[in-house]
Symmetry: C2
Subunit: 343 residues, 2 copies
DNA sequence: ATGAAAGCGCTAACAT
DNA sequence: ATGTTAGCGCTTTCAT
């Protein structure tokens, strides 16, 4: 049988109120009783029941983390960042995979509300345009990750400067001497995809390229798409000497085909990815990429939530994190005047 | 203000007991009142407070998942498998990263007990030899993953047939014609590492190799170690024409050095990894490896827990999952009689 | 400095 | 078929 606060109170010859105060470190308890009670708690392996506590305090010290799929290499870092920050504050994380499916999102948010989580970190599907009806009635704060939509409950946002990141990546390709840079994009439905696209175009424009120098191929954030995209380029005799890829997976798929075709990276074709996932530095040649601060995103998101929970500040907050260009082998070609262009 | 069961009862002109029965789908309620009450619940966006429910039922429909680090490519699959199974049964998962640190493990288990999770899926640190004192007092069932230790609370185990997997991998190398196979192991402190080592040795023995043909290098499950291990072999003029690696990361690190040295894979040296993580098929050449059913492990672990929770069966269970050999390019050398051996 | 008592929102006998 | 009532284990005024 589990030992309760009542048992401790009886054993110590005090009231449950006193025990409660000791558990919660209130200072209106004499050192004598405090010591005595603490000893008894220890002896009996007493563990407070936080479910009961939550019922009265209306705080569960639990937050929900809603992401598309932890298997996507983007998310483990983020989840870990969130967990670390949460843990620092004594919070736990319930994690939910939605596969970007709207009904799953709704269902999970329902569950989280029922469980009275204190807040939700939410990566919305690209398809989501509206909020949740069930959120109307609750005041659970939501921090939006990566996406930039607005609905009841959203108290803050953490995003990444995708525009700047893309701009820098393309600028780097240009500075090294590549002349014909294709953007192999993932989905252009979501804000990050669009921003990267804008960054790509702006970088071209700012460096003397014409509007029709921009070649944009839209697909999915998967290595298979990178592979197919390059195959398409080759089969249709499109000229290019560099690929700016929507993410690292796409870049790796592209590299795979190029290698199969005997095309040399970085000498014939330069490649830049996006994200700096784990394997970016493991592939051959190592991939130049735009690092996204994934861990940081999760960490900051929970940090922002904690701020809201503690100071009850209601003002909407937004943090835009910077990316950084990680230059590796896949773009380290020797500068040359007349760049070679693949047929 | 949140609407409670009482509010619904008042609005519907019935007792809270009736409302409760309707929420829990008891069948001793007339269709008329059931309909009326349900309508009112909907109209008022009523969401039952499961914290209150948990307090009386002693069930939280939440389980804890304790792993070393979600960033290790091994775990996202596993976590997803666990989450999917849990979700099927209406359970949520609290996830905890311990970094294989014993104190963190204890702390998390404490938190999980306090939160009255219904069960725990636990990947113990290799260093753990004993159980938890705090578990003595609770009856929270624990399913052990991957590790094979015994302590109070452990109600089941999910492991992988590492021996068989290693055996098959090495056998494959032999059958293709490699003659001097080095085992680049991760930590040999844990059961999986040891089992793989045994499998390696047994495969050699079974195929006419002498005992001192076994060369075992122990390090960590990191790509850097694979890189260093091969460097060591080269610098010390150790002969080898194949590497059986403790996991895929080690294999990838090893590949990196071999490529830097201009050694051809698979013709000069064959490589087999373990795990079949995502990047195994993305590296060049694609990596032959022993696939571990990671998703399955998580899925089955939660399944086992559900069985215990529902049938209250107390008999200890154990499931040993099989691995499978995935043959890719890194071992596809043309068979030859006199194998080339690297100096 | 300590305790009595009410109540958080729900479920589960037990009556009716 | 529906209601009454007593908790679940804790926190929190408000007294003393």
């Amino acid at each position: 049988m589990k030992v309760t606060i009542k048992d401790i109170a009886n054993l110590a010859g005090v009231s449950t109120a006193t025990v409660s105060k000791i558990i919660n470190n209130k200072d209106d308890i004499s050192e004598v009783t405090r010591g005595k009670v603490k000893k008894i708690m220890k002896e009996n392996n007493y563990v407070p029941n936080v479910v009961a506590r939550s019922l009265v305090t209306k705080k569960t010290n639990t937050i929900g983390l809603v992401i598309p799929d932890i298997r996507n290499p983007f998310f483990p870092e983020l989840a870990r960042g969130a967990e670390d920050r949460a843990n620092e504050e004594g919070y736990n994380i319930i994690f939910c995979n939605t596969d970007d499916v709207l009904v799953k999102e709704e269902k999970y948010v329902d569950m989280l509300i029922e469980k009275m989580v204190d807040g939700i970190i939410f990566t919305a599907s690209a398809k989501r345009t509206t909020g949740f009806t069930n959120l109307q009635n609750t005041s659970i704060p939501i921090i939006l990750l990566d996406r930039d939509i607005e609905f009841a409950g959203v108290k803050g946002k953490i995003t990444v400067n995708n525009f700047q990141g893309a701009y820098n990546g393309v600028k780097h390709l240009i500075s090294v001497g590549y002349k014909k840079i294709v953007f192999v994009s993932g989905s252009l439905l979501s804000k990050p995809g669009l921003d990267r696209c804008e960054g790509y175009k702006k970088a071209l424009n700012d460096h003397g390229f014409a509007n029709d120098d921009a070649i944009i191929l839209e697909g999915e954030y998967k290595s298979e798409w990178g592979y197919q995209a390059v195959k398409y380029l080759m089969q249709n005799n499109k000229k290019f000497d560099a690929l700016f890829c929507g993410d690292d997976l796409i870049a790796i798929g592209a590299m795979k085909l190029l290698k199969e075709e005997g095309i040399k990276i970085p000498n014939d074709v330069g490649i830049v990815g996006f994200d700096d996932i784990y394997l970016a530095s493991l592939v051959d040649p190592e991939l130049t990429t735009i690092r996204q601060p994934n861990y940081e995103m999760g960490y900051q998101a929970v940090g922002m939530l904690m701020g809201i929970l503690k100071n009850k500040m209601t003002k909407n907050q937004e943090i835009v994190l910077d990316t950084s260009l990680i230059i590796r082998k896949s773009t380290s070609k020797i500068k040359s005047k007349g760049a070679k262009t693949l047929s």
